[in-house]
């Protein structure tokens, strides 16, 4: 076991997979020689050579398309999109091509591409470096969507993504890259070194796709979320002294409905949370499915904790970010109902 932050854990996943499988290649804007603006691909070019870890031109559509073509010829490309906010020029290649290649060719061509991209706010990134656009990708049949909340999961999930026969959009909550975050903007920066999930095996292991993690057991209310908000929800439950069960979804598509339903049927109360804007977010899908599965067990309306239906503001970032107070308010509302 080693202590790793999320960047090191992701780098280790790439390193392990590139070592094991000569068909794994990694590329993206600034992702080659320099090792990525967040350093996730650091040292890979030095270790594995220019043709396995390389810089790409600033054209997200071309990056995704290149990955599709390579995957169709038997490589396992891991493409980095520098910020999730920049992924949209590549959206057509993801929606119309990557996601459907297996389907439209009746399985004769496949493109098991992994697209890694840092997402989320809380880093003073303003509206172009803070988005959580995961919901767009959960609406595309044919791709899997994942978002880890800690270094241990990040490495095991990225390895699973690379080994998946299906394309994966892999969101990395960049606020968690360097340390856990409880949602208090003014709080001291903490380190993954002091967190149990900062203990990461150096070799190969997987965290399975489609399996949620109950990160806190409780009986009063179920909180279903993913990414940065997993830690925020935990901090809120501690602070408010609420006996909350907190589920880290880890995989959004296909999400682990069994674990969710088991918990909500037990607690009878549920909060679904996302950092992204509220309307048509992934929390809406969760709420709809949970009421289908658990309606007669529910004792209160499902509450949503989300960002606002606005772009991500710069100066007022912390008024946008769904921090612990918003979780505590939601917990109170759902418990009082």
């Amino acid at each position: 076991m080693a202590t790793m932050n999320m960047i090191q854990a992701l780098n280790s996943a790439l390193d392990v997979m590139m070592e094991r499988d000569g068909d794994v290649v990694s590329f993206g804007e600034d992702a080659g020689y320099f090792g990525g603006v967040f350093r996730v691909t650091a040292n890979l070019q030095k270790k594995y050579g220019l043709d396995r870890s390389f810089d790409a031109p600033i054209n997200e559509a071309a990056i995704v398309a290149m990955a599709i073509g390579m995957a169709a010829r038997g490589l396992k490309p891991v493409a980095e999109i520098q910020f999730a906010d920049y992924i949209f020029p590549g959206l057509d290649q993801i929606v119309s091509e990557l996601s459907r290649l297996r389907y439209r060719t009746a399985g004769t061509f496949t493109a098991p591409v992994v697209i890694r991209t840092p997402c989320g706010g809380g880093i003073r990134g303003g509206q172009t470096h803070s988005m959580s656009p995961e919901a767009f990708f959960t609406h595309i049949p044919g791709v899997q969507v994942m978002m880890p909340s800690n270094p241990y999961d990040a490495k095991g999930m990225l390895i699973s993504a690379i080994e998946s026969p299906d394309p994966v959009i892999f969101f990395e909550p960049k606020r968690l890259y360097n340390g856990p975050f409880d949602g208090h903007s003014g709080g001291a920066l903490s380190s993954w070194g002091k967190h149990p999930k900062g203990e990461v095996p150096e070799g190969h292991y997987t965290v399975p796709i489609g399996k949620a993690d109950v990160v806190r057991e409780g009986n009063a209310v179920t909180v279903v979320t993913y990414g940065t908000l997993v830690l925020v929800a935990q901090a809120a439950a501690e602070k408010a002294g609420v006996d909350a069960e907190i589920i880290d979804l880890r995989t959004l598509v296909p999400y682990d409905i069994e674990t969710i339903a088991r918990s909500v049927n037990k607690t009878g109360r549920c909060i679904v949370a996302q950092e992204a804007p509220r309307t048509s977010g992934f929390a809406a899908e969760l709420a709809a499915q949970i009421q289908e599965e658990c309606f007669y067990a529910l004792e209160a309306p499902i509450q949503r904790v989300t960002g606002w239906d606005t772009p991500y503001p710069h100066a007022h970032e912390w008024s946008y970010f769904p921090g612990p107070e918003r979780f505590i308010n939601a917990m109170n509302a759902v418990l009082e109902a």
């Binding site: 057509d92 049949p141 489609g210």
Partner: protein, 409 residues
């Protein structure tokens, strides 16, 4: 009220419906004039070729100049046969579509040389990323006609399980990549594929085709950037058939005098070729393939041709271009030109031509009869309904399993 004069520039074709067809504004280099550099030439040295026109067959149907690929008569006859079969197949499928036998069809009439000569000049192992008007590649590579028809009528033997519109073929065994239907998307994919071929250490290359209208798409430019940056072994064909549905080529060309010229901005070898000249298309593709295989990088080839028929069965060209343009197209008809060349060589004659037409027509009719025996879109049998939930992912997750149960299949 429309302004008398537009306040900004919007290009328009020289003639519109009701006008006399006229191509006198085209200044085309004569066959045999373009020099043939060594395929290792620096991309920037191909400027004159990007602005000129590589042609081999002259007005007397003789092969002239440096680009003559000097093909054996057998190869020429094979090319003629594939082009003729492509046309016969297209004509028959159009009729069948008009009879309601399929939802949609797209012909390649007048452009058969682009696909057939291009495919014949490649190795069969080279991966092709075609657009929707290169069915000639399938004939050149020997795909079973019944299989092609089964796809077009989406029946139980459709290798794509009824998931794609007619003519959006996929044929993995023939190294024929999936036709998307979204424009230009496959252009940069072909570059990635070509890079992976190099990575795997084989001599396979990739080739892709898009229409001139699609060069306006970002993916066209993305493909050229990738091809240039990574010096990929890929051939990027721009089929300039003058029309993108109703939109004339000038809307995509803007003030650029040729589509091939766009490759020069990326430092790529760029050729403009008479697309109705089987020998010229063959020679240019062969040159580009040799260049790619030798590690000298990608080539952009503009095949200058004319879409002699409608865009698709949903289109009526009489609404936007004069009737009879195809008859006066200055570069003629690719089948007639190759036929006349072969006759001039003493390697073909009218009687054999007529006999082959008849034979191919009978083959197409019989093939359709057989294809229909596997079902039709209207009356079935189709692929099983539960197949709509297959191949979304490698394995069906709980959502798809439940939805399949909801549908009761």
């Amino acid at each position: 009220m429309a302004q008398d004069e537009p306040r900004f520039h919007v290009p328009a074709p020289h003639v519109r419906p009701g006008d006399t067809p006229d191509f006198s504004h085209l200044d085309l280099q004569a066959a045999g004039e373009a020099p043939r550099p060594d395929p290792s030439v620096a991309g920037m040295e191909t400027r004159d070729l990007a602005l000129g026109l590589i042609g081999v067959l002259d007005h007397n149907h003789q092969a002239v100049g440096d680009w003559d690929p000097k093909l054996k008569p057998d190869v020429l006859r094979e090319g003629l046969r594939h082009m003729m079969l492509t046309r016969t197949y297209d004509d028959r499928m159009l009729k069948l579509q008009r009879q309601g036998k399929m939802s949609f069809y797209m012909k390649s009439t007048g452009e058969e040389a682009v696909a057939v000569a291009g495919a014949m000049a490649l190795d069969k192992g080279d991966m092709v990323f075609p657009s929707y008007r290169q069915q000639g590649i399938l004939f050149a590579r020997g795909r079973d006609i019944v299989d092609m028809m089964c796809h077009c009528i989406s029946n139980s033997r459709d290798n794509l399980k009824g998931r794609q519109l007619p003519v959006h073929y996929t044929w993995a065994e023939g190294n024929f990549f999936s036709i998307s239907g979204n424009l230009a998307t496959q252009f940069p994919q072909a570059v990635g594929y070509a890079m992976a071929c190099q990575y795997k250490g084989d001599k396979q290359i990739a080739a892709s085709w898009i229409g001139e209208g699609s060069t306006a798409e970002g993916d066209f430019h993305g493909a050229l950037v990738l091809a240039s940056t990574y010096k990929a072994p890929v051939i990027l064909n721009v089929v300039n058939n003058q029309w993108a549905i109703s939109t004339f080529q000038g809307i995509a060309a803007g003030q650029s005098p040729s589509f091939a010229l766009k490759g020069l901005g990326y430092g790529l070898a760029s050729l403009r070729v008479d697309g109705n000249d089987f020998l010229a298309v063959y020679a240019a593709t062969q040159w580009a393939a040799e260049r790619a295989r030798a590690g000298h990088g990608a080539t952009v080839i503009e095949t200058f041709t004319y879409r002699a028929d409608a865009h698709s069965t949903s289109d009526d060209p009489s609404g936007y271009r004069p009737k009879g343009e195809n008859e006066i197209w200055p570069l003629g008809d690719p089948i007639a030109r190759l036929k006349n060349h072969l006759i001039g060589l003493g390697e073909w004659d009218e009687a054999r031509h007529t006999a082959l037409e008849k034979e191919q027509n009978e083959l197409v009719i019989a093939s359709y009869k057989e294809a229909e025996s596997y079902g039709t879109l209207h009356d079935g049998p189709l692929s099983p309904v539960n197949s709509i939930f297959e191949d979304v992912y490698a394995e069906q997750d709980w959502r798809l399993r439940r939805q399949r149960q909801d549908l009761g299949v």
